[in-house]
């Protein structure tokens, strides 16, 4: 018996019971589509996070106050020293591989223009921050490129803040009040949305020294370091840490490399995707049991046919392969239709939420199809064996 004949005969066996075949197909379709959609969501989340990091700029180190690792040394702890503007200036002076340093301080304050007021985040930083974070200005200019400790009374506002407070007037050149301080608006940011939890559309940026005066603070929230593109980020991290540790007399700061952070997140979300795929694969197993059920019904319904085949001189192995092929065809077709359905669903999702880059990873597509076929053959084996072992006399009598 040739393969083509086997496939044709098995196919007729399936199409003979359209509804039943369709229903068990549906089980496989849903299983495979679920694997595709869930892994696409997981992969989408991973890519989303990577995009978020990438949008923050490249070759970045972030210095935060405090030591996140415990050393276990008794008495070495205590209250960490503040990160100061002098620290930031020392980094610029001390390490030639550093391209730029952006000190950062943050708080919330009321911004008022005439009678209009709005409570927003105030970000104190420098001109270099715009370059490191790749921030675009829609109108006017960014903060002036000046010494860190010089706090000019100027501000750059987010587009949403500009719209709410200025209500149509051109903000550039206007005087606003931030807390009790008068500032001149020099620029409006381009729309860019929420990045890493900060809404860049609804804030005001002022020079770092100005912000420290407003908040009456001497410490920084963070220091951003951008390396020159060819510098080794790990060496730069060690150098920065050593320099600040020397200045503070103890290691009370943490230097985070954005790449390391990214790798960690990517790893976590990759594992999440895998877990989602595995959960979806359970539905494939259920679909396999559906196939087994359908094949068992088919075998018992076609008992007479099996008896006839035996009387016609069809061997056990041939009968086994007929029913096994039917199960395999069911799961293969189901798998293929599931792939198409999954692709369509993911495509629709991407169309509805373009910002979320959902896409099923290739390994998930291959695994879903392979598992569905394997499941069909595995669960088809028991019914096929039962058919091949029927006693022809009993089978012909239809008992």
């Amino acid at each position: 018996m040739t393969l083509a004949d086997l496939l044709r005969f098995s196919l007729k066996g399936l199409t003979g019971h359209g509804l039943r075949t369709a229903l068990s197909l549906l089980g496989v379709v849903i299983g495979v589509a679920a694997v595709l959609i869930l892994t696409a969501l997981g992969e989408g989340a991973r890519r989303y996070v990577i995009d978020q990091f990438a949008s923050l700029g490249t070759n970045l180190l972030i210095v935060v106050p405090g030591k996140t690792e415990t050393t276990g040394t008794v008495g070495a702890g205590g209250v960490p020293n503040d990160l100061t503007l002098q620290d930031a200036e020392a980094l610029v002076r001390g390490i030639p591989e550093i391209e730029r340093v952006a000190p950062l301080t943050m708080g919330t304050e009321q911004v008022a223009f005439g009678e209009r007021r709005r409570q927003v985040a105030i970000l104190g930083t420098t001109y270099d921050y715009m370059l490191a974070r790749q921030i675009e200005v829609a109108r006017g200019s960014f903060l002036p490129d000046e010494e860190m400790h010089r706090g000019s009374p100027v501000a750059v506002v987010g587009p949403k803040l500009a719209r709410e407070v200025f209500s149509g007037e051109d903000p550039v050149g206007q005087i606003i009040r931030v807390g009790g301080w008068r500032m001149r608006v020099v620029g409006v940011l381009a729309w860019q949305g929420v990045k890493m939890g900060v809404d860049f559309d609804d804030l005001a940026m002022v020079p770092v020294s100005t912000a420290m005066q407003i908040f009456n603070r001497t410490s920084l929230f963070r220091i951003l370091i951008q390396s020159s593109s060819h510098a080794d980020i790990d060496i730069l991290r060690d150098k920065s840490r050593r320099l600040l540790t020397e200045r503070h007399g103890e290691e009370d700061i943490t230097v985070i490399s954005q790449d390391a952070l990214l790798t960690t997140f990517s790893g976590i979300l990759g594992a999440l995707t895998l877990a989602l795929g595995a959960i979806a694969a359970i539905s494939l197993t259920v679909a396999g049991i559906g196939i087994m059920n359908v094949m068992l019904v088919s075998v018992s319904e076609r008992t007479r046919e099996v008896g006839l085949l035996k009387a016609l001189g069809v061997g056990r192995r041939q009968i086994l392969s007929v029913f096994l092929t039917e199960a395999a065809l069911l799961s293969t077709f189901g798998g293929l239709i599931g792939l198409v359905m999954g692709w369509l669903a993911v495509g629709a999702l991407v169309r509805i939420y373009p910002a979320f880059p959902a896409a099923a990873p290739n390994w998930a597509v291959a695994a879903a199809l392979a598992v569905s076929i394997a499941v069909g053959v595995t669960f088809g084996l028991l019914p096929a064996r039962r058919a091949s072992r029927l006693d022809p006399v009993v089978a012909l009598a239809g008992r």
Binding site: K12, G16, G307, L309, A311, L312, G313, V314, Q318, V393
Partner: protein, 240 residues
Amino acid sequence: MIKLSDISRTFQVGDEPVHALVDINEEIRQGEHVAIMGPSGSGKSTLLNILGCLDKPSTGSYYLDDREVAELDEAALTMVRRHQIGFVFQFFHLVHRLSAAENVELPMIFAGQPRAERRGRVAKALDAVGLSHRADHLPDQLSGGERQRVALARATVMEPEILLTDEPTGNLDSASGRVVLDLLDRMNDEGLTLIVVTHDPKVAHRADRILVLVDGRIERRVAGDQISEILAMLADEDET
């Protein structure tokens, strides 16, 4: 050439052994036409199943062309059924999702014959039973007589030596039954060994010989044209 020597077949039904066949000794020559008669439960079908290698005797030997069937393994028995024996059943046993032509083609598909060759032989077999014009019809679209003729074409398409039929006209009206019987006679004339299990004297009297089974034993052997000798006996048996 069929030779049965001391064939017995015992089934275990619960704790009770049931003796379906007891000490059957018989020879059937190539090309012979033999009818097997007997009341219900006399072992006719069991004998036919053993002859067709679907069942095996509990004791005794069945020689088919000087080969002891009991010594053949499953694969060899499959080959015997495929090439030497054809079956025609009372309830036709057509595969309902396949057309007449596809039903006839079935044994050749599993025998691995090339497609081009199959087509020609299907056409020939259907022509032999006068159903060329019904080749693409599904069994549900055929009359009873036509269905049995399709079954007959399927049973003979592999050109077996022996055709075993179990009540071939049991489900047919007399006119279509006669068509089927005429076809069987013609194939028998062409050299096919024909063994017919039947209740119907009109079927049995066409045979060269009639074997009368009672309680698993061959009670009488008569020539086909002397069927009147056993009619009274069969009538008696059926009443008891």
